[in-house]
C-alpha cells in the first residue's frame, strides 16, 4: 500500500452529496456537495439569504432533507445528535440553570464523560471558572457564546456546527472570540463547519472555504486557506491575507 493510498484510507468525517431543500416554492439548496476532513475547519460563505443556515440545520439533523445525503463517517444523518451539535448566535443556554448546570447537561444526558470533570475542564477552557454558579442571564454576550460552545463540547463531539456564532457580538469581542476558538480547537481537535458572512472570520478560522451561490444555492468555489495554525490578529494586515480577502469578497458579492 502506498503512502497516498494510506492517506486516502482516512475517510472524510463529513460528506454531503447533492443535498436539496425547499420550503414550499422556495428552492433553498440545489445540490450541495461538501467534504470535510477530520479536524478541519470548513468555513461556508455566501450571499445573505443563500441558505447557509438551512444547510447547517440539515447537518445538525434539525430539519429533514428533501434529497441527497449527509454522512458522518459511515453513518447517514438522521435527527439531532450529540455527535454534531450546532451553536447559533443566540446562545441557547438553559436560563434556569447555573453555568455549571449547563455544562454538565450534555454528559449527564449521554454519559459520554464525567459531568463534573467535563464542566471543570470547560470552565477553565472558557476562562469562566469564577462564574460556575452564575446563571446565563448574568453573563456578557461574549461569555455566553463561549459557554454555549463549551456546553456542546462537553460531549466531545467529532463534529461541531457553528452558525455565525459571534455574529451578535461587537467587533472587538469577536476578534477575541476568534483567538479563543482557535486556541480551543488546537487543544481539542474537532471537525468544524462554520457558517459566516464575515470574510475575516472565515479566513481567520477556516482551513478551507466553500462559497455558496445565491438561492437556489450550490457550491461555486472551494478555496484552501494558505495560512497556518499561527494565525493571529496581525494576520489581518498580511498582504497575502488582504489579497485573498479581496478575491473572496468579489466572489461572494458576485455569487
Amino acid at each position: 500500500m502506498t503512502a497516498a493510498a494510506g492517506a486516502h484510507a482516512i475517510p472524510d468525517v463529513l460528506a454531503v452529496r447533492d443535498l436539496k431543500k425547499s420550503y414550499g416554492d422556495v428552492h433553498v439548496l440545489d445540490g450541495i456537495d461538501l467534504d470535510v476532513a477530520p479536524d478541519e475547519v470548513l468555513a461556508v460563505l455566501g450571499p445573505s439569504g443563500c441558505g447557509k443556515s438551512t444547510l447547517l440545520r440539515l447537518l445538525a439533523g434539525l430539519e429533514p432533507v428533501d434529497a441527497g445525503e449527509i454522512r458522518i463517517g459511515d453513518e447517514e444523518v438522521g435527527g439531532p445528535s450529540p455527535d454534531r451539535p450546532m451553536v447559533a448566535q443566540g446562545a441557547t443556554l438553559f436560563p434556569w440553570l447555573s453555568l455549571r448546570g449547563n455544562l454538565e447537561w450534555g454528559p449527564r444526558a449521554t454519559g459520554h464523560a464525567d459531568p463534573a470533570a467535563a464542566a471543570d475542564e470547560l470552565l477553565e477552557a472558557t476562562a469562566l471558572t469564577g462564574f460556575a454558579d452564575v446563571r446565563p442571564g448574568q453573563l456578557s454576550g461574549g461569555m455566553r457564546q463561549r459557554a454555549a460552545i463549551a456546553q456542546v463540547l462537553a460531549n466531545r463531539p467529532p463534529v461541531l456546527l457553528l452558525d455565525e456564532p459571534f455574529g451578535a457580538l461587537d467587533a472587538q469581542t469577536r476578534l477575541r472570540m476568534h483567538e479563543w476558538l482557535r486556541g480551543l480547537l488546537a487543544e481539542r481537535p474537532t471537525t468544524v463547519v462554520l457558517v459566516t458572512h464575515d470574510v475575516d472570520e472565515a479566513l481567520l478560522l477556516g482551513d478551507r472555504l466553500a462559497l455558496l451561490s445565491a438561492r437556489p444555492s450550490h457550491v461555486v468555489e472551494r478555496i484552501d486557506v494558505p495560512f497556518g495554525a499561527e494565525r493571529a490578529r496581525s494576520t489581518l494586515s498580511d498582504p497575502g491575507f488582504v489579497a485573498l480577502k479581496a478575491r473572496v469578497l468579489d466572489l461572494v458579492l458576485s455569487a
Binding site: S81, P82, Q89, G90
Partner: protein, 317 residues
C-alpha cells in the same frame, strides 16, 4: 361577576414558532413594566426588577394615603349625618364588629344559625379549606391539561375551542348546575372553587409551554436529551414562570369563587356569614366579611409568591 383575563392568555394556544431572536432575549429585557399599584390580578410584582428599600417603603406609604383619606371622609360624613348608618355604618362601628368577629365571646347557637361573635376562626378556616382544596384540584388538573394543550398540537386543536368556551362562563353561571349535581354540600362548594381556579391555570400553562423557544428544545436534543425527557427537563422548567403566573391568577379567582361557593347552603365560611348578615340587616358584619376577603386573598398571593420565588428567580433578571 367580572371576568379576568390572564395576563399571559392568548386567543390561540399555539403561537407562531418562536424565532431565534427570542432566545437571545435577556431576562431583564423581558421584565414587566414598572411596578404599578398593587392590583392583585395584574401579576407585575413578581416580574418587576427589585428596587431599593427606601424607595419601596415610600411607594408603599404613598399607597396608604388614599385609603386613609377615604376612611376619614367616611367617618366625617357619617358623623355629620350625611350617610345613614343603615346604608353604611361608620368605620368605628365596623371596627367594633371586626373586633367582635375575631375576639368576641362566642355564644351557643341553634343548628343552622350562622354565628358571628368570636366566629372568625371558624369561618376563615372553613373558607380557606374550601379555597385550598378547590385550588389544589385546579392545579392537579390544570397543569397537566395545560401542558398537553401547549405541547401537543393535536390536543390543542381538539381541546382549545372547548377550553376557550368554558372559560367564558362566569362562575355564578356554574352555580345552578353545580347544585343539581352536588346538592347543597361541601362538594358543591369545592367544585365551584375548582372551576374558578382551573381555567387561568390551564390557559397560562398551555400558553407558556407553547412559547418555550424551539432553539432551547433543539439544544437539549443536540446535547443528547431523549425526547421522552423533554417535558420534564425543558418544557416544565422553561414554562415555570408562566405557570406560576397562572397559579397566582387561579388562586385569586379561586378565592373569588369561594363567595359563590358559599351560596350552597353552608353554615360556616366568611361568605356564609355575610349572607346570614344580610338576612338580619347587619351591614357592619357584611363589611367585616368583605375586609376579611381582602386580607385573606392578599395573604394567599403573598405566600404563593414567596414560595414560588426561588423556582422562578432566574426569569426575574
Amino acid at each position: 361577576m367580572s371576568r379576568v383575563i390572564p395576563a399571559t392568555g392568548s386567543e390561540t394556544l399555539h403561537g407562531q414558532d418562536t424565532t431565534e431572536g427570542d432566545v437571545s432575549r435577556r431576562p431583564d429585557d423581558a421584565s414587566a413594566p414598572a411596578p404599578g399599584p398593587a392590583v392583585l390580578l395584574i401579576p407585575t410584582p413578581a416580574l418587576a426588577p427589585p428596587e431599593p428599600r427606601t424607595r419601596r417603603g415610600r411607594r408603599r406609604a404613598l399607597g396608604l394615603v388614599v385609603p386613609v383619606a377615604l376612611v376619614a371622609l367616611w367617618a366625617l360624613a357619617g358623623a355629620a349625618g350625611f350617610i345613614s348608618p343603615r346604608l353604611l355604618p361608620p368605620p368605628a362601628a365596623v371596627a367594633e364588629a371586626g373586633w367582635d368577629f375575631v375576639a368576641g365571646e362566642s355564644t351557643a347557637t341553634l343548628p343552622g344559625v350562622v354565628p358571628f361573635d368570636g366566629a372568625a376562626a371558624r369561618h376563615v378556616s372553613a373558607s380557606v379549606a374550601r379555597w385550598l382544596s378547590g385550588f389544589a384540584l385546579g392545579v392537579g388538573v390544570g397543569v397537566p391539561l395545560g401542558l398537553a394543550l401547549g405541547l401537543s398540537r393535536r390536543a390543542g386543536e381538539l381541546l382549545d375551542p372547548l377550553v376557550q368556551a368554558l372559560r367564558s362562563i362566569p362562575i355564578t353561571a356554574w352555580l345552578p348546575i353545580t347544585l343539581v349535581w352536588f346538592g347543597l354540600s361541601e362538594g358543591a362548594a369545592r367544585y365551584l372553587v375548582f372551576i374558578g381556579a382551573l381555567f387561568p391555570i390551564v390557559i397560562a400553562t398551555a400558553d407558556s409551554a407553547a412559547r418555550v423557544p424551539r432553539a432551547l428544545v433543539d439544544t437539549a436534543l443536540m446535547l443528547g436529551t431523549s425526547r421522552s425527557a423533554l417535558a420534564r427537563r425543558v418544557y416544565v422548567p422553561a414554562a415555570l414562570p408562566g405557570i406560576v403566573t397562572g397559579l397566582r391568577l387561579g388562586l385569586t379567582l379561586g378565592w373569588m369563587s369561594v363567595i359563590v361557593a358559599e351560596l350552597t347552603g353552608q353554615t360556616s365560611g366568611v361568605g356564609a356569614m355575610m349572607f346570614a348578615a344580610r338576612e338580619i340587616g347587619r351591614l357592619d358584619h357584611i363589611i367585616v366579611g368583605m375586609a376579611t376577603f381582602a386580607v385573606i386573598g392578599l395573604a394567599g398571593d403573598v405566600v404563593l409568591r414567596a414560595v414560588s420565588r426561588r423556582f422562578v428567580a432566574w426569569s426575574e433578571g
